[in-house]
């Protein structure tokens, strides 16, 4: 058979098969059935002898702690078993969950990044917890920090409980400050103080940098910029998330600071997104980081560091990046069991114990008032600043499905300014226009 006839035959086979499938499945339009928020839910009592599957991406210390606490819960004989399963971390967690949801067998609880919340909310299998919370006032949803509640609420539905809350603060190397005779950062630091210090702490001959910034164009790049934007009292989107508010004096000012420090002063170590900034910090080559509690445990013992809140322009605003446990609907008994476990796991005493084992921040305000809190702070002194800093988290990223695209556009803008390839005003305007077209296209 000639090659051409073979090609025609192949294409014909594929088209025929596709056509067959199209006619069978074409036009299927399963629109999402939103779980009615506010309507009372009749959940059975927990029990039934089954198992609740919890998917997480914890490793190392966190994983050990999770296993211990799950075992502790199972030992209380709740009438069912909780199974904590490692299901990949980073992007893999989302891929695995999406595949499982599409392929039919999802877990009961899944740890997911906050950035996925808006899109996960569109799934009919994700449980809206607000009516359930309304029926369990002892859960005390308002006890959770506002940043977390904002991050898990999408269109009035609460689709997760916080697994982890954090925020950005200033971590600095005391020895480098001493060597350069620069005063340590304080609560009253302004952008000018920050920039000046970074300049004095930069020594290009010794390859020492005053500051580090994650420059891979991802959300890691964007969320640090958002902290700057909010410090200048700017906003990313308008109040009802329909238009960009980026193109403003605040936006340009924030971008200008990045330009000044990275391109003019050359005081910024640009990290590729692989976390090498922390290794360089450990080697005493970076003076200041804007980072969160997760990095503290990786700071080497021979580095004397301090933690302070971020410098201010108009305010000391910072940003939080909560991750959540999402509950999936595998039937009322499963949901009831999952909710029972979550109530226990997120209760103040239990969570404080978990935080003491892992170094996580408390997720409830009431945890800071427990007697065991002192022991927690003694073990993780840096966390005192991070917890106080939670009060500086007054805004959250827009919880809309198009946020990932908006973030990508903004990430490109920030990257181009840091690399000196665009002027701040130009970058802000371009990003703002892109954001408007993304919002217009919708999801």
């Amino acid at each position: 058979m000639s090659a051409r006839r073979s090609l025609i035959l192949v294409v014909a086979v594929l088209v025929a098969a596709a056509a067959g499938l199209l006619s069978a499945c074409g036009g299927s339009d399963e629109s999402a059935q939103p779980a009615g928020s506010g309507s009372p839910v009749a959940l059975p009592s927990p029990g039934g002898g089954g198992s609740v599957v919890l998917w997480h991406g914890y490793t190392d210390v966190e994983r050990a702690a999770t296993d211990v606490f799950v075992a502790r819960y199972n030992a209380t004989d709740p009438g069912f078993k909780v199974d904590a399963v490692f299901a990949g971390n980073n992007d893999y967690a989302l891929q695995k969950l999406l595949t499982a949801l599409a392929g039919g067998k999802a877990p009961d609880i899944a740890y997911q990044y906050g950035s996925s919340m808006a899109n996960l909310a569109t799934s009919p299998k994700v449980v809206d917890l607000s009516p359930i919370m309304a029926q369990t006032p002892s859960f005390d949803w308002n006890d959770f920090f506002p940043a977390e509640r904002l991050a898990t609420t999408v269109n009035g539905k609460v689709i997760g409980v916080p697994a982890l809350v954090d925020n950005l603060a200033l971590v600095y190397n005391k020895k480098l400050f001493d060597q350069a005779s620069v005063a340590y950062p304080t609560k009253d630091w302004t952008w000018t103080d920050f920039r000046d210090a970074a300049k004095k702490l930069t020594d290009s001959g010794a390859k020492q940098f005053g500051w580090a910034y994650v420059n891979d164009g991802s959300e890691d790049t964007v969320w640090r910029f958002l902290a700057l934007l909010w410090q200048a009292n700017g906003d990313l989107l308008n109040a009802d998330n329909t238009k960009s508010a980026l193109d403003s004096p605040a936006g340009i000012k924030a971008m200008q600071l990045l330009y000044d420090m990275s391109v003019t002063d050359k005081s910024v170590y640009l990290d590729k997104g692989d976390g090498s900034y922390l290794n360089v910090f450990n080697s005493g080559k970076i003076a200041m980081l804007w980072t969160g509690p997760w990095d503290i445990s990786s700071i080497n013992a021979d580095v004397q560091y301090g933690v302070e809140i971020l410098p201010a322009d108009v305010s000391h605003a910072t940003i939080a990046g909560p991750d959540n446990y999402v509950v999936l609907d595998n039937g009322p008994q499963q949901v009831a069991n999952a909710w029972a476990f979550i109530q226990w796991f997120c209760s103040p005493e239990v969570h404080l114990a978990y935080a003491t084992a892992t170094g996580h921040l408390p997720i409830r305000k009431s945890e800071t008032e427990l007697p065991a809190y002192k022991a927690y702070l003694a073990k993780y002194p840096a966390d005192e600043v991070f917890v106080a800093n939670l009060d500086n988290v007054t805004k959250a990223r827009p919880n809309i499905p198009t946020y990932p695209k908006i973030s990508a556009a903004l990430g490109q803008a920030v990257q181009s300014v840091l690399l000196g390839r665009a002027q701040p005003e130009q970058a802000i305007q371009a990003a703002s226009q892109q954001i408007d077209s993304i919002l217009a296209a919708g999801q």
């Binding site: 190392d60 971390n89 599409a102 067998k105 290794n279 450990n282 080697s283 997760w294 445990s297 080497n300």
Partner: protein
């Protein structure tokens, strides 16, 4: 372009030489007088290739604090305990067993089924052979992320989810194996097979007794690459396996790698231990990459 016709068998005794340097025995003697200049190329090349592996070894015997510095430095003391820790802190033996079962089954399946298919595509003229070949190649042309959901649904339909079968069955043949063997089958002179067929041998018999013995190196290649790919496969096992006792090595090693912190020495120790069997296989399999003296008499 004319290809030089081979001389009839048994006319030339095997020379025992495996390289290009064929001028005469004088050249042979000259080579034995000093090291070959090829070393000048091979040594730097090998160092370049081996460098990351060496770094992995160095990292695996460092402390965590030492690996959290940049640029990396040599460890002060050798931390052999990381290997023990990697083995004991996790069900390493279980992962190793699972991975071995999956890999060996896939290798056997591939060697057998790809030989059959590759031979047919290379030698037999049958209706639809071109289409079949193209369809086989076509499955290589779509990235896995696109088809992983339908693949999961199909595997679920067979009841194989969360079993080692899910890792074995879809990989019992690979287009790579079929394509590679087809090419190599076509490089063999067809006269011997025809002679065998005239003598009454079945096609299968010809394949197994006459042809395959000449295909040691390509078959070893298919075996090695199949082993390697099944051994290091991460995404598909992640999607389809949930029970910890069915995890394979890459999946298991991922538990050493956190979202924000990575236990580098442990991860490197674990990775080295997991890659060791394959290195051993490769070193052993090299015997099939050396022309055996006996077979040179049979070749045309």
């Amino acid at each position: 372009m004319r290809v030089v016709q081979p001389r009839p068998p048994a006319a030339l005794p095997p020379t025992g030489l495996t390289d290009l340097d064929l001028q005469s025995e004088v050249a042979v003697a000259a080579r034995h007088r000093g090291p070959s200049p090829w070393h000048l190329f091979l040594v730097p090349m090998s160092l370049l290739m081996a460098f990351p592996f060496i770094w992995m070894v160095v990292t695996s015997v460092s402390t965590r604090a030492e690996t959290r510095r940049f640029p990396p430095q040599l460890p002060h003391a050798i931390q052999w305990h990381t290997f023990v820790e990697a083995w004991t802190s996790a069900p390493f033996a279980q992962w190793l067993l699972n991975t071995t079962v999956v890999a060996v089954a896939s290798v056997v399946g591939n060697v057998v089924l790809c030989s059959l298919a590759g031979y047919a595509l290379a030698r037999l003229r049958f209706i639809g052979s071109n289409v079949a070949f193209l369809l086989i190649l076509a499955t290589l042309m779509v990235p896995f992320q696109v088809v992983m959901i339908p693949t999961l649904l199909i595997v679920r339909g067979f009841g194989l989810v969360d079993t080692l079968g899910a890792l074995i069955v879809p990989n019992l043949v690979t287009p790579f194996g079929i394509f590679l063997l087809r090419q190599f089958f076509k490089t063999l002179p067809v006269e011997i097979e025809e002679a065998a067929r005239i003598d009454g041998a079945s096609r299968l018999g010809t394949l197994v007794k006459i042809v395959l013995p000449q295909m040691k190196a390509p078959l070893a290649t298919v075996a090695i690459m199949t082993l390697l790919w099944r051994w290091n496969d991460f995404l598909w096992p992640l999607i389809v396996i949930t029970s910890p006792d069915k995890m394979t090595l890459p999946l298991g090693l991922a538990t050493f790698q956190g979202a924000h912190s990575i236990n580098l020495p442990l991860l490197m120790a674990g990775t080295l231990m997991s890659q060791l069997p394959m290195l051993v296989v490769f070193v052993v399999a090299q015997r099939w990459f050396v022309q055996s003296l006996a077979s040179s008499g049979i070749k045309g």
